[in-house]
Symmetry: C2
Subunit: 109 residues, 2 copies
């Protein structure tokens, strides 16, 4: 497989995390598998919209899904997804702190 193809697929995986609702879903799934209706209640979006976002993440290999009777269950495909997501959160929080520091310094002068 060419590097170019790897970059595309890698970007696709990252892109699958690049939406606020999908980040919220990843957060919900950190602890344990959840069923569709629970995620629906928790997030409060339209069911069609939720289904689409879950589908995006499942297709890119971020989530696993299984059906049990009438319910669909979703979970993180790998511990690594959770870890990567946590690292990105930390990068964000560190940047926010950095910005706060700069603002604080500006206020002092």
């Amino acid at each position: 497989m060419t590097d170019k193809k790897i970059f595309e697929l890698h970007a696709d995986v990252c892109k699958a995390l690049g939406h606020p609702l999908r980040i919220e879903i990843i957060d919900l799934l950190q602890e344990k598998e959840q069923c569709f209706s629970d995620i629906l209640n928790e997030t409060g979006v339209l069911k069609s919209n939720l289904s689409q976002h879950l589908s995006v993440m499942t297709k890119k290999g971020i989530l696993k899904t299984r059906r049990d009777g009438q319910s669909s269950y979703f979970s993180l495909s790998s511990e690594k997804v959770a870890k990567a997501c946590l690292l990105m959160r930390e990068v964000l929080l560190e940047n926010l702190q950095e910005q706060q520091k700069i603002l604080h310094k500006l206020n002092k002068t």
Copy 2:
């Protein structure tokens, strides 16, 4: 800060990784800081396009940039960016292997 806002900012950081060229750039910067023209030579895109993509990542706190004379230098803002990116790459590669296994099984039957 509300959870909703955190999800948005977190998604923004992830989204900043969600493009093949930007993944390629992250790869280039793993080892060490690089200047604009080196990245330009390595990637072979238009300079305006490269500048835009570098700007996206810098604005979202993925990259740091500094100017030295005529040259601009870019580097990863944090070791955590590299680690998160590596984890996502591993998720991708594991998924690809999984798909290969399934294909292999199908061919056997």
